[in-house]
Amino acid sequence: MTAPVDVEAGARRVTTAKAISEAIAQEMRANPEVFVMGEDVGPYGGIFGSTGGLFEEFGATRVIDTPISETGFIGAGIGAAVEGMRPVVELMFVDFLGVCFDQIYNHMAKIHYESGGNVKVPMVLMMAVGGGYSDAAQHSQCLWATFAHMPGMKVVAPSNPYDAKGLMASAIKDDNPVIFMFHKGVMGLPWMAKNPRSIGAVPEEEYTVPIGKAAIPHPGTDVTVVSVSMSVQHCLDVAEKLEGTTSVEVIDLRSIVPLDREAILASVAKTGRLVIVDEDYRSFGLSGEIVATIADKDPSMLKVPVQRVAYPDIPVPYARVLEYEALPTRDKIEAAIAAAMKG
């Protein structure tokens, strides 16, 4: 069931972290085949709060703290999923995929196809992504395009608590492997500076948000700004700031796979101007794929060249001045919108 977006003022407001753990708890109550495993997901509640309260409610047999053996426990998640369970496995930071990627892309992602559709892998692999707090090169990447590049995995990245809860419920119910990426900046963590958008109205009851459908949280007519995850919050801040001068349409992709190409094409057909904001690396990634989507369909729908605000092709530096030189900030988004509006 897809609930209507009833997020009136005065409704209960929670962090994205709480919204995610609530979705997992509701699925666990409804389905005994759902279980959680990963590092520090038990009593600690997940380093980023994604499993808060689950250990207390479901105990150590359904909320399992693992050794630091990602190949082992992600592979074990795959095995349990192949036998029909619905594991929610946490890889603490996406950057750690290096030690376990074979299980992910050669097994989790390919088993359904290799088996001619006979074996399903209904598993969620969730992980923290993103930077902005000086965690440097090995703990700050987004990397959604790395997963999206390899067929067989859905890739989800919510920007707010409401979507996070509904997307997590959809991910657990999905018969496919789903990579669920939560940006640390959207989690509403008590120990990290946050945009107020990381805390929002979330219904207590269960609902789903469909995977593969973009949202348009700020409709507009002058310029299309396409983004995903944390950067959507920055785009919305800029769009609100520019109200009265430029009518900005913000598209929150919500998932990279499937990519809602129709939503992008429909908006660009209307505005003729496109800005893409992506915290993942610029080259060979999401921003290029979006440009290709336009070029494949009808490049003449663009009145001006595309503006890409994406992470430059450098590892994430540590020092704040260096990191903020590279990150997609509000200033850069505003400048890109201004550039798109010229000409």
Partner: protein, 326 residues
């Protein structure tokens, strides 16, 4: 064998490291209030301090020369300082300054000092195969240098650890694998993650000598490391040492450690530095006066390094694009 002069030196070095980390801890938290923000302040980002584990670094490094290599983990300061990494350049790196070891690109989990053959990595156990490669280079060149891979007990459940041990043993390389067993991997206790009590037993699967060292005692650690280093230098191949130590502070700064319960108080009582100090006092190797001057000297060095870092310029924003390729 450890003699009395060495004991005083061990004490000095442990005090130096502790003084350093206490000062970093102070400055790390100083400008994150009132709403604690991990990304704020002069030292932003994650901060893993090694208080309690100084005996490992000091006992180990007293056996090493400048040309020997260490690959360290995410908790690297004790090892870096004991190995001889320049305190000023390291501090400037941690403060994200242009005068830092890596011009502010690396930060506290990614310290690189080629002059000391020192490096570390934030990805668990993944420095271990790199040490094997450094040892391969040393042995190909016919030097007597050794490479040391240091990782936590949590890291010993990572494939990289097992692959590195197998390679080093197969190729009989001069590697010393050091596991710092502080009982915890963030909030996960050793007992929930590792089915055997003595992790050094794992070496037998790779035909490698090994030992587990209890007591967090710098003298015993020195002796065990000495045996391993001498074996490696003489062409006798690798050794695995699991050293039982203690993590006195949080996994990272800001960790409330609720998961530790009573164990934390017990750990605090096992702070190796006051224990060692008492022993050396009783043996007449230290006096209240000499302790005072050792601590004052350490503070002077540490505060000078911090002042240097704070006075150093930040990198230019455009420097972000340098160093992607050689």
């Amino acid at each position: 064998m450890v003699d009395n002069d060495m004991r005083v030196d061990f004490y000095k070095e442990m005090v130096r490291i502790r003084t350093y980390e206490a000062a970093l801890q102070r400055d790390y938290h100083a400008d994150k209030a009132p709403a604690w923000d991990i990304g704020a302040g002069l030292i932003p980002g994650e901060m893993h301090l090694s208080a309690g584990q100084e005996p490992v670094a000091v006992g180990l490094c007293a056996n090493l020369e400048q040309g020997d290599a260490i690959t360290g983990p995410h908790r690297p300061h004790h090892l870096a300082l004991a190995k001889g990494v320049d305190m000023k350049a390291m501090t400037a790196e941690i403060f994200g300054r242009d005068t830092g070891l890596s011009h502010g690109k690396g930060g506290h989990m990614h310290l690189f000092d080629p002059s000391q053959h020192f490096s570390c990595s934030g990805i668990i156990a993944q420095g271990m195969p790199v040490a094997v490669g450094q040892a391969l280079a040393f042995s190909r060149r016919g030097t007597a240098n050794v490479a040391v891979a240091v990782a936590g007990e949590g890291a010993a459940n990572q494939g990289g650890f097992h692959e590195a041990l197998n390679l080093a043993s197969m190729w009989k390389l001069p590697v010393i694998f050091i596991i710092e067993d502080n009982d915890w991997a963030i909030s996960v206790n050793r007992e929930t993650a590792t089915p055997i009590k003595d992790g050094s037993l794992r070496a037998s699967a790779y035909g490698m000598p090994s030992a587990r060292i209890e007591g967090n005692d710098v003298d015993a650690i020195y002796d065990a490391c000495r045996t391993a280093v001498e074996r490696a230098r003489a062409g006798g191949g690798p050794t695995l040492l699991e050293i039982h130590t203690v993590r006195l502070w949080g996994h990272f700064e800001g960790d409330a450690q609720a998961y530790r319960g009573d164990e934390l108080a017990a750990a605090t009582e096992n702070d190796p530095i006051p224990l060692y100090e008492k022993r050396l006092l009783a043996a007449g190797l230290l006096t209240e006066d000499s302790i005072g001057s050792i601590k004052a000297q350490a503070e002077e060095e540490v505060e000078a390094a911090i002042a240097y870092a704070k006075a150093s310029p930040e990198p230019k924003p455009s420097d972000a694009y340098l160093h992607v390729f050689a």
